[in-house]
């Protein structure tokens, strides 16, 4: 399978290369000369690295106890909680920022609480706000990635550990820490990368000379100055920065080497003590409050307006659904061949870089590059939706690839020789071995892609005319027109549709999953 996936993987890689480096080249070709970077640009570089480092480390560190609690506890509502943990990451950024402002903003719950205690208010704007929002978005992603690592430890290993009378600390030492050592570096670097190219958070909660990211600086150069030269220079800095981080991430991905089990239900004999139960309960409750409170505040404002939303909002919602499902279909074609090709080799460098490359490209730079490339041939409004589908799928590729690679490797290690010896090849092997073994992570990857695409406000803003607005763009326009009540209603609709899409796909991968 792995060998046969290579030509298709090469095609996927070519598409990704064209979308990332190709569009970057288009921007450079259009820009005339490279101006020097000023002190403001260097400050932006420093701030970008600082906030991304803090965000990544905090997200991963906080995710470990939460993932551990989810891995070793069975309780009513666990499935719902895991699905909800996917929510902030797939939450449209503007919607989430609205929710965070309701809790941590000047008149939010948090500052009212401080006031009640006689403490001075804190501001959400600046470094702390950017990091807060990034942790809000990425803590759940980190939890899901680490939880997958936990679930990749076969039940047999825990059984063996229990039979050797290993307690929690021995299990941590022999099973959990080796797993974390293999999962955490990849998780931290992935979040670091996401935060490097994060744009909307910096736009809404950062800004000013002390809290401007490179991405925001690129946007300002495009939007306010139409200074393509400076934007191109900043884009190249961003690219090099992200490329370095991607190489770091490539080195960080390690194999767990736990081998295969027989897919027995994981039971834990080591987690019975009261102290551990309290610890796990506290982790789950605190993270639930942190994640749910902003959403609750948003729902309170938006739900009553849902029924009276204007017709263009509903039309844009249908358009967004079509875009999201198309992106999910496309990600299957892009991510699966790359993951299978990489899984078949010890040195997966080339495929790894292709799959991670979209992280080095900002959707803003890609969008502008496509804008420059396509403008001679098409009216931007006519290709707005196809371009959005393509770019959204490309941007989701690193996450889809990351969740597919480890199980693809496991499937290859455990069953590659067996399938080979039975002469299972091509589509038959895909249908009978690869897809069933990868069902769970595939459902997750497709759900992630659909939801991200549903909520994306990047490329579409550059291309869309009046008739091709997606729901996030429509929401953005409502906010721009200060129709805040309608905006809150549209935000609730967007949130509901994004979650529903994710749930349908992710559930599809898990229901009756035997693998």
């Amino acid at each position: 399978m792995a060998r046969r996936a290579q030509p298709i993987a090469a095609l996927s890689a070519a598409v990704v290369l064209a979308l990332t480096l190709g569009t970057l080249a288009a921007v450079f070709a259009r820009a005339s000369g490279l101006p020097e970077l000023g002190p403001a640009d260097l400050a932006a570089l420093r701030f970008t690295i600082l906030q991304a480092t803090l965000s990544a480390i905090l997200s991963a560190a906080l995710a470990v106890p939460v993932a551990r609690a989810l891995a070793r506890r069975r309780f009513p509502g666990r499935g719902i909680l895991i699905t909800l943990l996917g929510a902030p990451f797939i939450l449209p950024v503007i919607v989430a920022v609205l929710g965070l402002l309701a809790v941590f903003g000047r008149a939010g719950l948090f500052n009212r609480g401080l006031e009640f205690l006689g403490l001075p208010p804190v501001t959400i704007y600046g470094l702390q706000g950017v990091v807060l929002a990034h942790v809000f978005f990425n803590l759940p992603l980190a939890t899901r990635l680490i939880l997958q690592g936990w679930l990749s430890i076969p039940a047999e290993r825990f059984r063996l550990a229990a039979s050797l009378s290993m307690g929690p600390s021995e299990i941590a030492r022999f099973l959990e820490r080796p797993m974390l050592r293999s999962v955490l570096p990849g998780t931290v670097t992935a979040i670091f990368l996401i935060c490097l190219t994060s744009f909307a958070v910096a736009l809404t909660l950062g800004g000013g000379p002390r809290a401007t990211t490179i991405e925001l600086a690129i946007y300002q150069a495009f939007r306010f100055d139409f200074d393509l030269g400076r934007a191109a220079a900043l884009a190249s800095v961003q690219f090099v920065l992200c490329l370095l981080a991607v190489l770091l991430a490539g080195r960080a991905a390690r194999e767990t080497g736990f081998g295969a089990g027989l897919d027995r239900q994981v039971e834990r004999w080591d987690a019975g003590s009261v102290w551990l139960k309290v610890q796990d309960a506290a982790a789950l409750i605190l993270v639930s409050i942190f994640l749910l409170l902003p959403l609750g505040a948003l729902l309170e404002a938006g739900l009553p307006r849902l029924a009276t939303l204007p017709a263009p909002v509903w039309e844009s919602a249908l358009r967004s659904l079509a875009v999201a499902v198309s992106s999910a279909v496309l990600i299957l074609v892009l991510a699966l061949p790359l993951a299978l090709a990489a899984a078949g080799r010890r040195q997966a460098g080339l495929w790894e870089i292709s799959a991670m490359l979209p992280l080095t490209a900002s959707s803003l730079v890609t969008g502008t590059g496509l804008f420059i490339l396509l403008r001679p041939f098409f009216a931007p409004g006519d290709v707005a939706l196809p371009v959005t589908v393509l770019v959204n799928a490309a941007m989701a590729l690193p996450f889809a690839y990351r969740s597919l690679l480890p199980p693809a490797r496991d499937a290859e290690t455990d069953f590659g020789r067996l399938a080979e010896s039975l002469g299972m090849t091509g589509l038959a092997r895909l249908r009978l071995v690869t897809l069933p073994r990868l069902r769970r992570p595939l459902g997750f990857a497709l759900g992630l892609t659909a939801a991200l695409s549903m909520g994306d406000l990047g490329v579409i803003a550059l291309f869309a005319g009046e008739e091709t607005a997606t729901l996030p763009l429509q929401l953005y326009r409502l906010m721009g027109a200060y129709r805040m009540a309608d905006a809150a209603g549209a935000a609730v609709l967007l949130l509901g549709l994004s979650l529903a899409l994710f749930w349908v796909f992710d559930r599809g991968g898990r229901v009756n999953a035997r693998a």
């Binding site: 897919d263 067996l418 002469g423 009978l432």
Partner: protein, 231 residues
Amino acid sequence: MLALENISVTWDDFTLTADLAVEAGETVAVIGPSGAGKSTLLAAIAGFLPLVSGRITWEGRDLSPLSPGDRPISILFQDQNLFPHLTIAENIGLGLNPALRLTAGDRARVEQALERTGLAGLGHRRPGQLSGGQQSRAALARVLLRARPLFLLDEPFSALGPALKAEMLDLVAEIAAETGATVLMVSHDPGDARRIAARTILVEGGRAHPPEPTGRLLDHPPESLRAYLGN
């Protein structure tokens, strides 16, 4: 006849050489100390490890250009012989068609194989729901249906108890007799070799020696084998 003509294979920094032949229809045991290269020998024959030199032929035909699935070979590994996400019947059906496109006749043959191996009525279960012995039987049922002339066993029964293992070895012998297969069976138990193999290949010191009569080899073992057998 299976002929290994001056072959040499490399696995990491370990090299195994062999120059030997096994008669068609014969059952041969492969014994030797752990890490001597017994599994490497089978992996080379099955096509999982490329030959550094020499060639392997079956009935005069060079196997080198054939992929593992195209070789006239069925192989059972130490573990992971069944797909956990497929039913027992599906796992066995893979022996008839690796894409699982089974005709009504094929399905009937799967049922017969289930019955033949004492698994009647268990076809709809998944491997995780069966005992170790039943899992071994299912894997053997698939070998029966694949009916390839060469049958390689890389200690697939080492986790079973003595009675169960003896039962499996008898089943192997029956299947070999029914399909006329030539059997190469890795084992670390000299009792296994005596039970079903008239001749035995000794693997030690990076070399697989030509097969010798099992009784003579085990009764008068060379120095290296004596250390391993411990008597």
